[in-house]
């Protein structure tokens, strides 16, 4: 069946032609080109226009605050929208199993440079290809102004969303903050997201004892674009393996069991 089909006659009795586009054709004619979404309702509501294409978005997420989770959620939603994603893992610390599901969704590439400072060059090369809807630079010091300007122009030329997650432990490299540590470096990011954990993610197991059960965490994400900041709360689960028992008395005896079986196996041979 073709893309066009005759529909039922309209109310006035006059038949009209209704185009029945396949899904992929429909995506080619967006009424309003929107930014990228996270696929997290609360966060997408706080950022109604999405992560802007052709612009830099900064993510302030301290180590362990859940920034990687948000970036991978953004990557997943982008891949589901049929666009390529490249992630520059400047710290080379992303666990492959954390992002393995993304590789099945579409063109998802991870670039792991030798040195942290080479991440900008890698991002430059990736942006120039024009093949990606989203390029993420993860855990890098804030870029120098001239680097940011070059990348912003590239992102604009290729209509690519560039998301930079700063490594705040390493700090900025110049006087962008004028010596103030309470002020985020300004390098031309059009949107800034700040992430902080508002809940612990642990439930104490026994009173007076440090042992605890892992539990879901609540992240508070503040979006700052223009106007007043908006906040969203995101719940993140803790993916500990089922076998992990949060009690000191539960031991894994499998290694011992294996050692016990070994002589028996030799006997069989």
């Amino acid at each position: 069946m073709g893309a066009a089909a005759l529909a039922q006659p309209a109310a006035g009795g006059r038949p009209h032609l209704e185009l029945a586009f396949p899904e992929r054709l429909r995506r080619l004619v967006p009424a309003v080109r929107r930014g990228l979404v996270f696929g997290i309702p609360a966060l997408d509501a706080a950022l109604p226009h999405g992560v802007p294409r052709g612009q830099i978005t900064a993510l302030d997420a301290p180590l362990g605050s859940g920034g990687t989770t948000l970036l991978l959620a953004l990557a997943e939603a982008t891949l589901r929208a049929d666009e390529g994603v490249a992630l520059v893992d400047a710290e080379r610390s992303l666990a492959p199993q954390a992002a393995a599901h993304l590789a099945a969704l579409g063109p998802f590439w991870v670039v792991r440079p030798k040195a942290n400072e080479n991440a900008w060059w890698c991002a430059d090369v990736l942006l120039r290809t024009g093949a990606f809807g989203l390029v993420i630079v993860d855990r890098v010091p804030a870029p120098a102004r001239r680097v940011a300007v070059r990348l912003q122009r590239l992102a604009h030329d290729k209509d690519t969303a560039l998301v930079i997650r700063e490594d705040q432990m390493r700090g900025g490299t110049d006087a962008r903050t004028h010596g103030r540590t309470d002020m985020p470096p300004n390098y031309g990011a059009s949107v800034r997201l700040s992430v902080g954990a508002s809940d612990s993610g642990f439930v104490p197991a026994l009173s007076g004892w440090g042992g605890a059960w892992p539990a879901a965490r609540r992240l508070r994400v503040t979006t700052l674009k223009s106007g007043a900041p908006r906040a969203a709360e995101v719940v993140v689960g803790i993916p500990l393996p089922d076998r992990l028992r949060p009690h000191w008395a539960v031991r894994d005896r499998r290694a011992q069991a294996r050692a016990d079986r070994r002589p028996e196996r030799k006997t069989r041979r």
């Binding site: 589901r80 390529g84 954390a98 590789a103 792991r112 030798k114 093949a131 993610g201 689960g237 992990l244």
Partner: protein
Amino acid sequence: MAVADVRGKSRVVASDAAARRRGVADGMALTEAQALAADLRALPWDEERIARAALEVTTALLAASPRVAWNGRRTDARTHGRTEAPGHGEGVWWIDAAGLGGEAKLARKLVTIAAGLGFGPARAGVADSAVAAYAATYGGRTDARTRGRTEANAHGTASAGGQGGAGVRPRIVPPGADARYLAPFPITLLDLDEDLAETLRSLGLVTLGQLAALDADEVEARFGPPGLAAHRLARGLDSRGPTTPRNDALPVVEAEFGGPVQTAEPLLFVLKGALASLGETLHTRGLAAREITLALRLDGGGTAERAVRPARPTSHPDALFDHCRLALETWQLPEPAVGLALSAAVTVPASGEQGDLLAPRWADPAALLAAFERIRSSEGADAVAVPEARDGHLPADQGAWVEGTDARTHGRTDAHGHGAADSELSASLRLLSPPAPVHVRLGRSGLAAFRHADRWHDVSAWCGPERLAPRWWRRDDLPPAAETAPPRDYYTARTGDGALWLLYRGDAAGQWFLEGWLD
């Protein structure tokens, strides 16, 4: 006019048309030239600047032909400020025109390239031999018989000097007609030694045709090797120009610098242009280079060669350039280089993919692969990877980075992954490789703090231990070191800032390690 010091005396080594009209000539003493035209500016001859400009022209001309050689110009005491080469070498490039099709078109392209570099009134001529091509470039006769010329040994010259006017029509000498074409030209075209030129003039030999008509043995007996060389040139036999034997089976690009190059910068400049030409040739033939031979002709006459192998066959100049640049950086050359040759030693058919009309963002996979290749050449072979989940007990064994081979740039809409559509968000693991040894402080309630990166992290809650043995079920396949690896006791700890850390106690000595954190 340009002035150089020759035998302790300032002499004119180059002059523009205005100066020549007023009687200034190359080789003239500066005082003599100033007597003729006192208002002319005398600029010092800057070999380095000229060499840089010449390299720029050489690189640009590579876009027209894969074999380019700069004739160069040397001023020294023996030549009294004139060129050594018997062809008034200033601003002359020898360009291989063989097998490139329409030579008139090539000549026009050469002139256009030279003009684009700011050399405006450039000229070009095409002939079988370099001397005839030179005569066609600078000679006064017009010979535009261009039809039917497909001679394989043709040479062309493009001049970037200021001797012609803009819009000079390129002259093409018909195949096999070099000697006939050269016959009416004066012997001075050859720029012979002064003594030999004077002798020939006194004998009444004025034109090249008269010299060519003499018997070669008699010329050699009377005038020696210089006379025989002049005789050969007069007959249109010239060995100048790109002289390396051609191998049309392999795409080859050659450039001669015209002088020794000692620093990497000019070499890289020419290399980039040469690779652009080679990449274009490969692309035109539908090939990708699996191996490139980078050969440098050395000043002493030797050749240094190195094979450059990209991780994947490619014809993209940027990717090839990065590999060649890395090869050059680690290359200790015994002598300065005077020429460069690039050949695609091993080629494979280039793979292609048709563009997808319906993909919202589609880019050439070859360009994407080339970008990845650039990153790999700079950051290591494992720098571009795709994550893959694996079966394993230890966190480090549960995934791996694999080198992706599919450079499709549009999505796989039929794929289904877990994620926002079917599950809640879960924290992502980040791993240190290798795990970092840490100091741990134990309190009454277990883990109290650990020290990492010169900072103590106070633990507010923790869980564990979880004892994991590294791949205990596959010990038969593991090396002895893995066989004896002790099991690890894993702990998950929450610190005061809310971060969740993954620690383990791994060896017999009870050393603690930080393996990663949940983010």
